[in-house]
């Protein structure tokens, strides 16, 4: 993305948002914290911390059952949160939003419910080579049970999965395409709308793992025309323990329940029970009562700043960080797709990523090192692991400078 002068100035206004995150002002190992692991989990603004705390201090009770004031208030706040998620993703109906624990559970829900009911032995599921384990293993479990076939679209050397690599796998048995909107390792952003159009043309459904994408770019499930979209609260500055699955109303209605228990039933008899209507059919047991409103607070917070503005700010940071890191001899960036979110995986010649992360930590710079729950991708690039710096709306160029200075220290220490 090209940043014009005026845009950069507008985006610069985002800098004040950093002050909304209390944890960013605490020192780590005697130095100011440079948090570059938002791809694993993002920090929380005060409004989110307050929202969760407010539930507990003023309106906490179990929801969907009490006939008393507090339970009514808690139920109202929880259901208001569902409408906030609906607006955030631009879903047609609030009952198309199913609250889950996280993206992982949302994908498992689709695999267990949609997969078991609608997929037959020999039916094909198309994934890409850069999927997170949470968008690989649920399908493997389904393969063991139902005999479905998993096809994998290969990742190119620069980290892209071209549209044709995905559509080239389509055939008469293709039933489902399940792909990450944005790779958690490479940052690659997939052309979801085009993938959906091609998939629908052959009668396949599309599930999008939005765990990484939702915090980096505007998402409109109707414009994308996806059948399912999954994301986690904790990666978009919200609480952990809550996520959501968007599902098209007709599909969700046709699918059997995922888990059984309280809340998801209409009537229970030992002979036969009947299910509650959407969305409750898929929400057995007490949910994340206090986290619902806190998630809504997080979505309101980023919407207040503007997802497009966040995307511009991060594009600027990504461009700056890519330039600065590439200038260090021996540093190699893994994943250089033109359509890329604010994540940089890198390796340094002759230094293991674990050692990089350890030395960076000593400089107060928090990054992730490892396989990032994407072992097949590591194998694809013949790497045991990578170091990964991932950016959020609160990061700035000073964070990048601290990262690069610490990387130079690593090289000095290892003589690399």
């Amino acid at each position: 993305m090209i940043i014009t002068r005026t845009e950069a100035d507008t985006v610069a206004g985002i800098e004040s948002a950093r002050a909304d995150f209390p944890i960013l002002s605490r020192p780590v190992r005697g130095r100011p914290l440079v948090y570059l692991d938002s791809g694993a989990s993002a920090q929380k603004p005060q409004v989110v911390i307050d929202a969760e705390s407010t539930v507990y201090s003023t309106q906490y009770a179990n929801i969907h059952r009490g006939l008393y004031y507090l339970s009514e208030r808690a139920t109202e706040a929880y259901e208001a949160a569902r409408r906030t998620v609906q607006r955030f993703l631009n879903a047609k109906h609030a009952h198309e939003i199913i609250f889950t624990r996280n993206t992982t559970e949302a994908i498992n829900l689709v695999a267990a419910s949609y997969g078991r009911k609608f997929l037959e032995p020999g039916d094909e599921i198309v994934l890409t080579g850069f999927e997170h384990h949470s968008n690989i293993v649920p399908w493997q479990l389904l393969r063991e049970e139902r005999g479905v076939v998993i096809k994998v679209a290969p990742v190119s050397d620069n980290g892209e999965v071209p549209l044709e690599a995905i559509t080239g796998l389509f055939g008469p048995r293709t039933r489902l395409v399940s792909v990450a909107h944005m790779s958690n390792v490479l940052g690659t952003i997939l052309p979801v709308a085009e993938i959906v159009r091609a998939a629908h043309a052959v009668g396949a459904r599309v599930l999008v793992d939005g765990a990484q994408a939702v915090s980096h770019l505007p998402v409109d499930v109707q414009a994308l025309d996806v059948d399912f979209y999954a994301f986690s609260g904790h990666k978009i500055y919200g609480p952990s323990g809550i996520g959501a699955l968007y599902g098209r109303e007709d599909l969700l209605n046709a699918m059997p329940p995922y888990q059984g228990g309280g809340d998801m039933i209409a009537t229970v008899r030992f002979e036969k029970s009947t299910w509650a209507p959407l969305p409750h059919k898929f929400e057995a047991g007490p949910p994340a009562i206090a986290q619902g409103p806190a998630l809504a607070a997080a979505l309101d917070y980023v919407s207040g700043i503007g997802m497009a503005r966040i995307a511009r700010h991060e594009a600027d940071l990504l461009e700056y960080a890519t330039r600065q890191l590439s200038a260090v001899e021996g540093v190699h960036i893994v994943g250089t797709a033109p359509e890329k979110g604010a994540v940089i995986s890198f390796v340094i010649d002759d230094v293991h990523p674990h050692d990089i992360a350890q030395i960076l930590d000593n400089a107060g710079v928090a990054i992730r090192a490892g396989h990032h729950c994407a072992q097949p991708l590591m194998q694809r690039f013949d790497l045991p692991a990578t170091a990964r710096a991932s950016f959020g709306l609160y990061n700035n160029r000073a964070d990048v400078d601290a990262l690069v200075a610490a990387v130079r220290k690593v090289k000095e220490m290892f003589g690399a």
Binding site: H352, H354, D355, N362, G370, F414
Partner: protein, 153 residues
């Protein structure tokens, strides 16, 4: 570099990490095991050639990992060669105790060996890195017992 980082990455570790000793395959090994640290994906194979008297005649490893795990494997091969399997097992327990901040069990029996390995004691302040330092040793113990696969989990 701060002092605590220097404790973790002592010169000996950087040296063994860069130039590991006995990183090779033993063609006629009679014990081996494959070790894996699922947290970071590090993999390592330990080869042993044990004589009929139970003495370890040759020991080596293959694999790639961080400086700590590579240095630990390298140092391990140096102190283990010439020991019996039973002694190697005891040394593993002593090393494990050192890496996790516990007490050694065998008293002064392996004083020299433990002295050589103290460069790795810094990991005890970094819980995540303890597994890096002990991976080779867990794999060695598995090789002795002929368990061909082990993970640090």
């Amino acid at each position: 570099m701060s002092d605590d980082l220097r404790d973790l990455y002592q010169e000996v570790i950087l040296d063994h990490g860069r130039h590991p000793r006995n990183r090779r395959m033993i063609e006629d090994a009679n014990h081996f095991a494959h070790g894996e640290n699922p947290l970071c994906g590090d993999q390592l194979t330990v080869f042993l050639k044990v004589g009929p008297d139970g003495v370890i005649k040759d020991v080596s490893f293959e694999g790639r990992g961080c400086a700590i795990s590579t240095a630990s494997a390298s140092l391990m091969t140096e102190v283990i060669v010439g020991k019996t399997e039973a002694e190697a097992q005891k040394l593993f327990e002593d090393f494990h105790a050192m890496a996790t901040g516990g007490e050694a069990h065998s008293g002064d029996e392996f004083e020299d060996e433990i002295d050589r390995l103290t460069v790795l004691a810094g990991v005890r302040d970094y819980p995540v890195r303890v597994k890096c330092a002990t991976l080779a040793w867990h794999t060695l113990a598995a090789a002795i017992k002929d368990e061909q696969k082990v993970t640090t989990e």
